[in-house]
């Protein structure tokens, strides 16, 4: 099975303020968008980021061919345990999951 990052245009992550992380998957076409919506469950994403599924916000935005997830940051921005001040380094985690 291919990695998500190899079938979509781009996966990016970024801070949404100091307490939240947001991850955008730009699918690029209706076909790939449908494949991602159906093939990537919220449960799987929550497990990948080790957050409760209930705290994960998901937006399937058909008009943009985008699937977006927002979640509490793995560590609050800038605390001693934070590894990535701007939050962009989490995208590869999602880009490397395999998808049907």
């Amino acid at each position: 099975m291919p990695e998500l990052g190899s079938i979509v245009e781009k996966v990016r992550s970024k801070n949404a303020g100091p307490f939240w992380l947001t991850v955008d998957i730009f699918c690029g076409s209706p076909e790939v968008y449908a494949r991602v919506v159906n093939g990537l469950s919220s449960e799987r994403v929550a497990r990948l980021f080790r957050v409760e599924e209930a705290t994960l916000k998901r937006f399937d935005i058909a008009v943009l061919h985008v699937v977006k997830f927002s979640l509490p940051r793995p560590a609050i921005q800038g605390t001693a345990h934070d590894r990535d001040m701007h939050g962009a380094g989490w995208a590869p985690l999602l880009a490397e999951v395999e998808i049907n």
Binding site: P18, F19, I61, Q77, G78
Partner: protein, 450 residues
């Protein structure tokens, strides 16, 4: 109709001078630029300083002051000096006075301050006027008093007050990114949903267009919607680039909370006017019953010392996790023996660069790299203690063998001394809103002629 010229996403990022001149020639009603963000972390607010260099800030700001004089319209900066504390507002004011003198210009300057006295916030907490946002840390009056700086994010109301003074230049402390763009069209009775939506699309400059590094964009807001046009050569807005910008750094791509209400773009329609400009209609502003402003606060979270060693020996790289775990436990024992300190007195983390430094326990890839860096991060209540603990880590990172039998190895230290004292580290400790009876209650406004 109100025309806003936005030179770039932030002062300090640079802008395309030719595109700016084009924007000035098109007679804007206001030039707006953001001066900051929380995005680079809590240290800037914690210390009350700017992230960008003074020289770079001055060069760019001087260009905008000259552009303003030519355009004959107000120039507004929000969140001056990265964090928008009083100290960075005064820092930019001083730069402004220097730049005006060098240009041979004078100007009326409105200075809007957003910093909060701790007791004001502590009182508001006691009175039940401070409310947590989702995923906010626990707070108390004592925690509020332990902060080094607290700022409130001004909205369009406070920027409007500043503009009503007739100021040529508005230097504002912390504001929402959007308020500096939305204020004037709201004052002039343009469509409120369009004004806020335009502000969100424009606040990062040309990030809503192709060629995002070019910076300069122009937004026209009217009674029904808005039109966004990037001004650099070769930059284009399309319905896709504009609507996709609502995703950026936003946990919810359809709703944006501001003081006094929220923007809802669920029903927004994006249409190409030509191959450069996009027209947006259908955005809705929903006023709230209470007027609240978001608070940001930072406080000292300890002092840090760093060490960095790089490991290139193949056997060590292949066994890097075991090597690091062994060092961690031996170092903890030594800190206990020599300094009498336990895990509650300090933190020492050994982050393995090349293996898991970015993702930590979330990392899913398992290939062995050619080399690995080991970054020791020591956090303690004082710098002296952090440095002492670092000095006890030093010999392990330099010489610790994988097995007892082998000759003593030596690893690469890129620096001498190996211990790098980082000073105080800060943490964001507020994610709350504060209710105000009057929007100006938590802000001060002063007019100065320079």
């Amino acid at each position: 109709m109100t025309r806003i010229l936005i030179p770039s996403g932030a002062l300090g990022l640079g802008y395309d001078a030719e595109a700016l001149a084009r924007g000035v020639a098109a007679k804007p009603d206001l030039i707006a630029i953001d001066g900051g963000s929380t995005d680079s972390g809590p240290s800037y607010l914690g210390r009350g300083v700017s992230k960008y260099s003074r020289a770079g800030t001055k060069a760019e700001w001087k260009g905008l002051i000259a552009a303003r004089a030519e355009a004959g319209c107000p120039l507004v900066i929000g969140t001056a000096g990265t964090c928008g504390a009083d100290s960075t507002v005064e820092w930019l004011y001083e730069i402004t006075v220097e730049a005006l003198a060098e240009l041979g210009l004078s100007a009326r300057i409105a200075v809007l301050k957003s910093e909060q006295p701790k007791e004001r916030v502590a009182d508001a907490l006691k009175e039940g006027r401070v409310t947590p946002l989702p995923h906010a840390p626990e707070i108390s009056a004592d925690l509020i008093r332990s902060t080094t700086h607290i700022v409130a994010l001004a909205g369009a109301e406070q920027i409007a007050e500043a503009l009503e003074t007739g100021a040529d230049i508005v230097i504002a402390g912390r504001t929402t990114d959007t308020a500096i763009i939305a204020a004037l069209p709201l004052m002039r009775g343009d469509h409120a949903g369009a004004a806020w939506h335009a502000a969100k699309i424009g606040e990062c400059g040309a990030l809503c267009a192709t060629n995002p590094q070019s910076g300069v964009i122009q937004i026209d807001i009217d009674g029904e919607g808005f039109t966004v046009t990037p001004l650099a050569d070769g930059a284009h807005c399309t319905p896709h680039t504009v609507s996709a910008h609502m995703l950026y750094e936003n946990s919810d791509p359809f709703i944006l909370y501001e003081p006094g209400g929220h923007l809802d773009v669920t029903a927004a329609r994006y249409a190409a006017i030509d191959d450069t400009s996009v027209r947006v209609t259908g955005s809705v502003w929903v006023p709230s019953e209470r007027y609240t402003v978001k608070l940001e606060g930072a406080r000292v979270a300890g002092y840090q010392t760093l060490l960095l060693a790089t490991v290139r020996d193949r056997r060590y790289v292949e066994n890097i996790r075991a090597w690091v775990d062994d060092i961690a436990s031996r170092h903890a024992q030594r800190v206990a023996n020599r300094m009498g300190l336990g895990p509650e007195d300090y933190a020492c983390e050994l982050r393995i660069i090349g293996v898991e430094a970015t993702l930590g326990p979330l990392e899913t890839r398992r290939e062995a790299p050619a080399e690995a860096g080991v970054m020791g991060i020591i956090t303690a209540p004082t710098q002296e203690r952090a440095n002492e603990i670092g000095k006890l880590l030093n010999p392990f990172l330099l010489h610790h063998p994988l097995t007892r039998e082998e000759e003593q190895p030596t690893f690469a230290f890129p620096f001498s001394p190996a211990e790098i004292d980082r000073g105080a580290i800060y943490e964001f400790c507020l994610n709350h809103v504060m209710e105000l009876d009057d929007p100006m209650d938590a802000f001060s406004l002063e007019v100065r002629d320079a």
